[in-house]
């Protein structure tokens, strides 16, 4: 097996020639002993796509209920039943209030993910969205993972399409990437046996794209999965993106005005072991975080963005991640509870100033974006001459051509 694996030098050549990497290539990258070589190669791709431009947004996270019928082994957030200690379900007023209290410096995006609560009517969710839009008409609602959409479909006897259309009608703008975990059934059946399968997840995103919704994708790594499983996961996402891009391009070239959705960003998420069913496992280390970012950037040649999610890795490692393939730090978050529950030491929110500083210290150019990666504010480059990396004048397109074709 090992001797059939391509060498790192061959992969380097392929990447520089813009060729697509194979599963075997992915394995070589995960096994390459020299982390910095993998990072440097991913950085080449990142700089080819984005130069020094590095994105963040002003977002806010909300979990309206942590009651969940599923029992994912890695989850420290969900409480099985309504009245268990620590369980909490917000009333609609409480949920809306969370946004209202932030209206003095309102976020541009609201990111809502929840447990799979068996006792709420579907109208709870549609009302929830409508209420948010009432408070702030132009807020971007990025709500409900594919796992929740799948649950809604099953629980309320609807198709994915019906669920998505009804939620869109109520104000839903795009889907977050959570719930992907590891697609491979060998792993998924052990860590998340009672929720959407990998295929279900991909199908929800497929339908969402067809309906013109943008979505994100994630991977929860560093628990019981192997490198093969990670590579498999990345390739499944790449496959879906190929399909969605092809449809989007076809639609665009037919002169159709029908918008098409694609996967915008990939976000690798590190498993955190506290307070969940896998607490005996060690958490993945920073070196694994950086390598996974880099390999993701290299394998996912049809994704425009790869995010270093600072909540998962901590702001320091996320900053290093900006040299290992990531071009996005996610956002201000304000209020994160899921990783907190799993023992993460990251702060629960960062200010815009913090994010700008993190990006500048890495020698990059901070760009505040909206959820669809439209530029809100462009900052200038680091004001710290010696902290910045070499002063480069990289020519990078503002957006990948694919997005230009589809979104604009």
């Amino acid at each position: 097996m090992t001797d059939t694996r391509p060498s790192f030098a061959e992969i380097e050549k392929k990447v520089r020639a813009g060729e697509r990497l194979t599963a075997e290539d992915g394995m070589t990258l995960f096994h390459e002993p020299n982390l910095l070589k993998v990072g440097a190669l991913a950085n080449e791709v990142r700089e080819r796509l984005h130069g020094d431009r590095t994105y963040f947004n002003r977002n806010m996270r909300l979990e309206v209920t942590n009651v969940c019928m599923a029992s994912c082994l890695f989850c420290s957030f969900a409480k099985l039943e309504e009245h268990m200690p620590g369980s909490h379900t917000m009333t609609l007023d409480e949920a809306w209030h969370e946004l209202e209290t932030r209206m003095d410096n309102p976020p541009s995006e609201l990111h809502v993910v929840n447990g799979l609560h068996p006792g709420l009517p579907f109208s709870y969710y549609t009302d929830l969205l409508k209420g948010f839009k009432r408070i702030k008409a132009d807020i971007h609602l990025k709500c409900f993972t594919a796992v929740e959409i799948h649950f809604f479909a099953r629980h309320y006897g609807k198709t994915y399409e019906q669920v998505l259309l009804e939620l869109r009608e109520a104000g839903l703008d795009s889907l977050p990437g959570g719930g992907a975990e590891i697609f491979h059934p060998d792993v998924r059946s052990r860590i998340s046996h009672d929720k959407a399968t990998g295929d279900d997840y991909l199908e929800v995103h497929r339908v969402a794209h067809r309906l013109g919704m943008m979505t994100n994708a994630t991977m929860l790594y560093g628990h019981i999965e192997t490198f093969e499983h990670r590579v498999d996961h990345l390739l499944r996402l790449r496959g879906l993106q190929d399909e969605s891009l092809a449809l989007a391009k076809a639609a665009a070239s037919n002169g159709g005005t029908e918008p098409r959705g694609i996967l915008q960003a990939f976000i690798p998420l590190a498993f955190h072991p506290d307070g969940n069913g896998m607490k005996n496992l060690p958490a993945p280390t920073a070196v694994d975080d950086l390598r996974t970012l880099a390999v993701s950037r290299l394998m996912l040649d049809n994704f425009e963005h790869v995010k270093a999610y600072w909540v998962s890795s901590g702001p320091d490692v996320a900053q290093i991640g900006l040299a290992f393939g990531a071009d996005d730090l996610d956002g201000t978050i304000v209020h994160e509870t899921i990783y907190k529950a799993a023992g993460s030491n990251s702060p629960s929110g960062l200010t815009e100033k913090d994010l700008v500083r993190l990006i500048r210290e890495a020698g990059r150019i901070p760009i505040e974006r909206d959820t669809l990666y439209r530029v809100v504010k462009e900052y200038d480059k680091a004001a710290m001459p010696e902290a910045a990396l070499k002063v480069r004048d990289r020519k990078a397109e503002k957006h990948l051509s694919i997005l230009k074709e589809i979104v604009s």
Binding site: P33, K37, P282, S313, G314, D316, A323, M384, K390
Partner: protein
């Protein structure tokens, strides 16, 4: 230098007899600010931008790097120089040991090159000694390199005298250039250069007067004639094409032998000619070449270090540092130590602006740990399989040296742990308080159980920076001086750098060069650690350059500059265990300490805790095997 108001040319010169004819006529010139000092101090002023032009030894100029020369003059010799010699009772081939006066790097490098050449690569043992000790050591198969006045004084007395300039000429057919006028590119315009040229003409005419005055001032009337002929006939003050070629040859040989950074001979007027003719400046080495040389472990000049900081990409620095680490420690093993940091008192008279830990004398929160508390802490270390205590504290005026001696004896007797204790600042404090020499203090403490000296408090070894962040702290020279004494006694120490206050890239490189210079002398530093100033309330200074990426770059550059320090440790205590792990791929081969109680850092808000299992997991995760070590970096078990 924006702080400067004066437009006068700041000129520094070595205060030796042979230099005076070149600079003495500058005294009183209204356009010139002249000062004189010992060679090391002159070099420091150039490196730290405190002077514009310096008459300085050529080796020091190579260490700074990328300097320009004034054409036409230097302190040179064609044949005998008389003042730079190897003297011995037996012929060179029979010598087993040669004493070196380490204050003169140019002479030391020349001596080593000549010896290698004469003995076909064979070398005796070199021992660094101050001038008087070096002369005293001559006898049997021990010789000494003797420099300057002492050399003239013992002229003709010892059985064997090898004149090094003459030996160089026999070898290369070239003259030798000992010193010349150097400055940073653009430091001097044509009009100013003319002033320097004119001073030489005046000085040449005053040579008798100068040498007579020197003899008188030094009470050496008997050497009057000798001095006169020395500055008239022996020393040549012209630096022509042949001398320039000779200097280039010296730089090349020294670089080949690994004794000096790669250096070029380039004159101020060449830069000016390039500008005037609009031609491209002389070919600079490419960044890739520089990175390649760094990765190969070549000695880098300060200028080259600065260039790496300013221009090299993160990954290139990391890969080069990783290559150096891999060559120095080829087993892919990362060490760590199980120890504990105990701060025995927080009472301190210094009040550094970056310190949130100290309390002034009499403050209700001030403490001195009791034996009881200490004993409990030490027992915990013993129980956890720890091997060492790192003991540091504030500068508490109420603790006499006997207090430390008793404490050390008690700790050694009861717990038997390694004692890595008292940074230079504390040693100096005790010495001052007790009116004892540093050496005596160290000797007494060693007798009481001191095993090694921690390298804390180095901050940035540039006094301009030190004065701003910690007025009352010891000077750079003081800090290095304590380490020199400790190393000469056979004690080992670590060395550190705390950056990120008012320091610039040049300051940080200069810090590394100072550590490297002392290491050349003593070899006493075991390891280097760096971290950024931890900003927090209670601290009265703004944070400067910092950040995680910056830390990784800084550590990588340190690994590349400190070619003579064996180990570089990741500072996970300040940077966090995650960044500490990543740092293992940026040149570090050590993960520091497992047990943690570092109040000076932790009261500034940085508190990280980890245990041996977690440390080993991280070491493995970074692709290394892990092994426990002691303070001398001996492996205590098999790596796993």
């Amino acid at each position: 230098m924006s702080e400067r108001v004066s437009t006068k040319l700041r000129v520094s010169a070595v205060e030796y007899l042979n230099a005076q004819p070149l600079y003495l006529a500058l005294a009183g010139n209204p356009d010139v600010e002249l000062d004189t000092a010992l060679p090391a101090e002159v070099a420091r002023r150039v490196a730290e931008d405190e002077t514009d032009l310096a008459l300085m030894p050529v080796a020091a100029a190579a260490t700074i790097g990328d300097l320009r020369l004034v054409r036409g003059m230097g302190i040179c010799a064609r044949g005998k120089v008389r003042s730079v010699v190897i003297v011995s009772e037996r012929p060179l081939e029979e010598l087993t040991e040669v004493s070196l006066d380490l204050s003169s790097r140019t002479s030391v490098v020349l001596a080593r090159l000549v010896i290698r050449h004469r003995l076909g690569g064979k070398e005796p043992k070199y021992v660094g000694r101050v001038a008087a000790d070096a002369i005293a050591s001559i006898g049997g198969t021990t010789g000494a390199v003797v420099i300057g006045d002492p050399a003239l004084r013992i002229e003709g007395k010892p059985a064997y005298t090898l004149d090094l300039a003459e030996a160089w000429r026999e070898w290369t057919g070239l003259p030798f250039v000992f010193a010349a006028w150097f400055g940073r590119p653009g430091a001097l315009d044509a009009a100013q250069e003319a002033i320097i040229q004119k001073a030489k003409v005046d000085g040449m005419a005053r040579r008798d007067e100068i040498s007579d005055a020197w003899a008188k001032a030094n009470g050496r009337d008997e050497l009057l004639a000798s001095y006169r002929s020395y500055v008239h006939d022996t020393i040549r003050y012209d630096l022509g094409d042949e001398e320039a070629q000779a200097l280039a040859r010296f730089y090349e040989e020294a670089h080949k032998a690994g004794l000096l950074p790669k250096a070029e001979v380039r004159f101020f007027d060449q830069d000016r000619d390039d500008v005037a003719s609009g031609s491209k400046p002389a070919q600079r080495q490419s960044l890739d070449t520089l990175l390649g040389r760094a990765a190969d472990g070549e000695r880098l000049s300060a200028a080259e270090g600065e260039r790496l900081v300013a221009e090299a990409e993160l990954f290139d620095l990391g890969l080069a540092a990783d290559a150096v680490r891999n060559r120095k420690h080829p087993h892919d093993v990362v060490t760590y130590i199980v120890d504990r940091n105990v701060n025995y008192t927080n009472v301190c008279t210094t009040s550094c602006r970056f310190c949130a830990f100290y309390r002034p004398v009499g403050h209700p929160e001030g403490y001195v740990l009791s034996r009881e508390v200490l004993g409990q802490k030490l027992q915990e270390v013993v129980d956890a399989g720890g091997v060492q205590i790192l003991l540091q504290g504030g500068l508490n005026p109420e603790l006499p040296i006997e207090w430390y001696e008793d404490l050390f004896r008690w700790m050694k007797k009861e717990y038997g742990l390694g004692l890595h204790a008292l940074s230079p600042e504390e040693i100096l404090h005790i010495a001052q308080m007790e009116k004892l020499s540093t050496k005596t203090v160290l000797e007494r403490l060693r007798a009481a159980g001191l095993d090694s000296v921690p390298g804390g408090g180095a901050e940035i070894l540039v006094d301009r920076v030190r004065r701003k962040i910690a007025k009352a702290k010891c000077t750079s020279e003081d800090w290095l001086g304590v380490m020199r004494v400790a190393h000469q006694m056979g004690l080992r120490s670590s060395c550190t750098m705390m950056y990120g206050t008012v320091d610039t890239a040049r300051d940080r490189i200069q810090h590394l060069v100072k550590l490297r210079d002392l290491q050349d002398e003593t070899g006493g530093f075991t390891a280097f650690f760096c971290w950024d100033f931890q900003h927090e309330s209670g601290v009265r200074i703004e944070a400067g350059d910092h950040g995680t990426m910056f830390y990784l770059r800084q550590q990588a550059v340190a690994r590349l500059m400190l070619d003579n320090v064996a180990h570089v440790g990741a500072s996970w205590v300040t940077q966090g265990p995650d960044v500490g792990q990543v740092a293992l791929r940026f040149g570090a081969d050590d993960y520091g300490s497992v047990m943690f109680e570092e109040n000076v850092v932790s009261s500034a808000g940085t508190t990280f805790c980890t245990n041996a299992g977690a440390i080993e997991a991280r070491i493995h995760g970074a692709g290394f095997r892990a092994v426990r070590r002691n303070v001398r970096y001996d492996w205590l078990n098999e790596p796993s």
